[in-house]
């Protein structure tokens, strides 16, 4: 039976058996909400009129046709998530259009005369992209292995009482705000590094280590959830065959939890890429490609810290370039998120799900 999209949407919004005048009132409510949204986007001052209509019809409908309106309102709330994502994407692109139109691919290419000189109209995001890559690689090298080992400890090795103390501890410590890390890095680490690494402190290495420590609890929490959900029967079977606990972990639990563990590492990488304040506080000055490229003791702003530090004093074109940087960030992190969901789906199909 072919039914139009509209009828489907209507049915899912109102439900199968709407009461009396409910369908009319619900349609008016939905229409007024849509109008309010459109108004807010186009002419914000007049958005209040549709909002008042919405409030009035909702009040009446809630009193008279509560179940229909409950369904409608929750559908609206669900649509809000998708609409928010859509709005973010659209407005990022709209604001970046001037920069893309004027500079196009030059934004990603090096220039003979330097990289960032807003007064001369010189913009290149290449050093920021490279800085993001270096910092994320260093952070991943720390958060990945240590995070998985920590998760292994909590999930499999630690005795019950130690586990009950350590797991909430790590989750609480995951909440330390990034600006606090940034402040510690700013006040303490730069001086410490100066005396021990013969460098002036602001360096990819320090920023990478700090970001790695920040992403570590995320990786530990998610990987621990994955490792704990390996079925007891698989591990018990392995132990019954005479394998030691370590052999069971290595050959049974980790491969079985592989999708969750890789999702954890990708999540940690995503967090490392999006980290702004710690990097901005540690590598405060300058933007440039390190020479040679792998010099981890050099410093440069990353995409995130570039946006945070330059936005306040930026001209219109600079603002637009910063939005282009934002699109890059958004694209990279969304790509990572989609990749991790894909991996989980593949693993689920391969290892047989439901457990």
């Amino acid at each position: 039976m072919s039914e139009s999209l509209l009828t489907n949407a209507y049915r899912s919004a109102i439900g199968e058996n709407p009461e009396g005048g409910a369908s009319v009132l619900a349609t008016v409510t939905a229409a007024s909400l849509a109008a309010a949204l459109v108004c807010f986007i186009v002419v914000p001052e007049y958005a209040v009129y549709p909002v008042l209509v919405f409030v009035a019809t909702t009040a009446v409908g809630w009193v008279k046709y509560q179940s229909t309106f409950a369904r409608l309102l929750t559908l609206v709330a669900t649509a809000a998530t998708v609409i928010t994502l859509g709005l973010i994407t659209v407005y990022l692109f709209i604001s970046a259009v001037p920069a893309i139109r004027e500079h196009g691919i030059d934004l990603l290419l090096p220039d003979a005369m330097g990289f960032w000189n807003p007064n001369a109209g010189l913009y290149s995001l290449l050093p920021a992209i490279w800085a993001t890559v270096i910092v994320t690689l260093i952070a991943g090298a720390i958060a990945g292995p240590f995070g998985v080992l920590g998760a292994l400890f909590i999930a499999q090795i630690a005795p019950d009482r130690v586990r009950a103390a350590v797991k909430p501890g790590i989750e609480i410590l995951a909440g330390i705000p990034s600006i606090v890390y940034g402040y510690i890095g700013f006040r303490v680490l730069n001086n410490f590094v100066q005396s021990t690494f013969l460098d002036n402190g602001a360096s990819f290495l320090i920023a990478g280590i700090v970001v790695g420590v920040m992403a570590l609890p995320t990786v530990v929490s998610v990987a621990e959830d994955a490792l704990s959900s390996v079925p007891e029967s698989m591990q018990a079977g392995s132990l019954a065959m005479g394998a030691t606990r370590w052999q069971t972990m290595k050959s049974i639990s980790i491969p079985a939890a592989f999708s969750g563990v890789s999702a954890a590492v990708i999540l940690g990488l995503g967090r490392a890429i999006g980290e702004t304040m710690a990097v901005a506080a540690i590598m405060a000055a300058g933007l440039g490609l390190p020479s040679p490229l792998w010099d981890v003791f050099d410093a440069s702003a990353t995409l995130t810290s570039l946006i945070a530090t330059q936005y306040g004093t930026a001209s219109e074109m600079t603002v637009s370039v910063l939005f282009a940087a934002g699109i890059l960030l958004f694209g990279i992190v969304t790509g990572l998120s989609v990749a991790s969901q894909y991996i989980e789906q593949r693993m689920y199909e391969r290892l047989g799900g439901g457990q």
Partner: protein
């Protein structure tokens, strides 16, 4: 039957060999801890213990460890102690020690010879180590390479070749930083101690599979406690720097509000020698959190209800799931950009508290949605079936059965989400600005007033900039030398207290409710 001998299935009495191995393992851990203490600057390298500098003590300890490991190799291979080694230590360990050999060879080669000879030396040493680990029996392959590393490092330290004041700026690779003794000695000592401890733990387990298990567990325990120590040290460090300044002038008084806490209750007052505070920042953060919660929680809970109760699993739900996941992993600074591009032009064109509230609300939305969805899904179907059997309609069931049952989970998710957004800085910098020394807190409730033209209701207070705790810290950082370090530490301490207590309450309530539901 008489005369039957009973052989124990598992050896339970510990032999002298095992007790000695345990003691030395403890020494290894001590060495590891001391090395990190030296790295952190708590133990200066020049401190004297029984007339010898710490460097020399490290060197002697490592030399001892190396010799003991060689002794264990001899004793085990010679059959003097009953062990059960495999035929080889395995390719994994081989590769690990091969890399160590490569690095040592490369470093020494670069130091001794010029040109590309160092590559040859590096490869030779690397392959040699691989052969030494993989080819002999496991008890030699696991103990001799770590012993060599420990003896090498110990030798460098004792002989004074690697002592306080040593520096090296490698030309090869042209890094712009260098290595000093303060960093290199502790790291080398910790690394050697780790390797020796791994080998000792293997020996303690009599090699073979149980030995490998002990070795692996030793390393994992060490790393796990290292991680915990780092995280606790961070909190302790901020507390030690910030608490004294934050609690200046604190006293308990007789009438409401029963405490006099200047740092938290007073704004900044310029040109005075009274103790001034960060009240505007705290008030700002409180209003941001309230606004974000009022915006995000109804939307998130409503969406969760629709997705679990009303919607059919299909394209729409998958689309929403992808959108939620994408929103959840979006960097915070991108939310700030969105706020600047979409919200600010429509809310008066300037940075404002309202824009900050909405941006934080957008960040809170996916968190609330995900946790509420989990909470609602975990309400057992029996509840809904029983309610339907009594003739209750779907919405009534949701309202009176499902939501109350899921409420603990929803509240927990909300608390954890609030803890996260209270500490967010990057989006606020873009939409709220960072005020350094705010002299007056916003008065939101007093600010509401009706006007004649649309939108008929305005609030001066939330349409202006405001201070907030995270942006205040950023302002202190960007003020550079003119920012007061003590105020910065104290503000960081207060922010840490607030955020961590939200997280602690959230996690405690989640554990409590999980236990209650499991019990059922």
């Amino acid at each position: 039957m008489s005369g039957r001998e009973e052989a124990p299935l598992v050896q339970t009495a510990s032999t002298a060999f095992e007790r000695v191995a345990d003691g030395i393992l403890g020494l290894t851990v001590l060495l590891f801890v001391l090395a990190f203490g030296a790295l952190a600057g708590i133990l200066p390298l020049g401190v004297r213990l029984a007339g010898l500098t710490l460097v020399t003590v490290f060197g002697i300890a490592l030399g001892l460890l190396g010799s003991i490991l060689l002794g264990i190799a001899f004793v085990s291979r010679g059959g003097y102690v009953e062990t059960d080694p495999d035929r080889s230590a395995g390719l994994g360990a081989g590769l690990g020690f091969g890399v160590v050999g490569l690095v040592v060879g490369g470093v020494f080669g670069a130091g001794i010879t010029d040109g590309v000879l160092w590559i040859g030396l590096s490869l030779a040493l690397g392959l040699g180590m691989v052969a030494l680990t993989v080819l002999p029996r496991e008890d030699i392959g696991s103990t001799v390479p770590p012993a060599l590393v420990a003896l090498l490092v110990g030798g460098l330290l004792v002989s004074g070749l690697l002592d306080i004041g040593w520096q090296w700026q490698p030309q090869a690779g042209s890094f712009s930083g260098g290595f000093t003794a303060e960093a290199t000695v502790p790291l080398l000592v910790a690394f050697s101690a780790l390797l020796s401890g791994w080998a000792l733990a293997k020996a303690r387990g009599n090699f073979g599979a149980p030995g490998r298990e002990r070795g692996a567990f030793f390393v994992v325990y060490l790393i796990a406690f290292g991680i915990l120590t780092v995280m606790v040290a961070i909190v302790a460090f901020v507390t030690s720097r910030g608490a004294p300044y934050a609690f200046r002038g604190f006293e308990i008084v007789a009438q409401f509000p029963f405490v006099k806490w200047p740092f938290v209750m007073r704004p900044f007052i310029p040109l005075t020698d009274r103790i001034t505070g960060i009240l505007p920042a705290i008030v700002g953060t409180v209003w941001l959190v309230i606004g974000a919660t009022v915006f995000a929680v109804p939307l998130g809970v409503g969406a969760a209800v629709f997705l679990t109760e009303y919607a059919e699993q299909g394209r729409f739900t998958r689309l929403v799931e992808t959108a939620t996941s994408a929103l959840w992993s979006t960097p915070s600074v991108v939310f700030g950009l969105f706020g600047a591009a979409f919200l600010i032009p429509r809310l008066g064109g300037d940075r404002s508290l309202l824009a900050g509230m909405l941006v934080l609300g957008f960040m809170l939305l996916p968190l609330v949605l995900i946790t509420s969805r989990e909470a609602i899904k975990s309400v057992p179907d029996e509840y809904r079936d029983a309610s339907a059997a009594l003739g209750v309609t779907k919405w009534e069931t949701i309202r009176s059965v499902v939501l109350p049952a899921a409420m603990p989970g929803i509240i927990t998710g909300g608390i954890l989400g609030v803890g996260r957004i209270a500490g967010e800085t990057a989006p606020l910098i873009l939409v709220l600005g960072s005020t350094l020394n705010s002299t007056e807190a916003v008065h939101v409730i007093r600010g509401f007033e009706f006007v004649m033209h649309p939108p008929f209701i305005t609030n001066e207070a939330i349409l202006t900039e405001s201070a907030a705790l995270p942006t205040q810290i950023w302002a202190i950082i960007s003020a550079g030398v003119s920012g007061s370090p003590a105020r910065g530490w104290a503000t960081a301490f207060i922010l840490l207290c607030i955020v961590l207590s939200f997280y602690a309450v959230g996690i405690a309530s989640r554990t409590y409710f999980r236990r209650k539901l499991d019990y059922e």
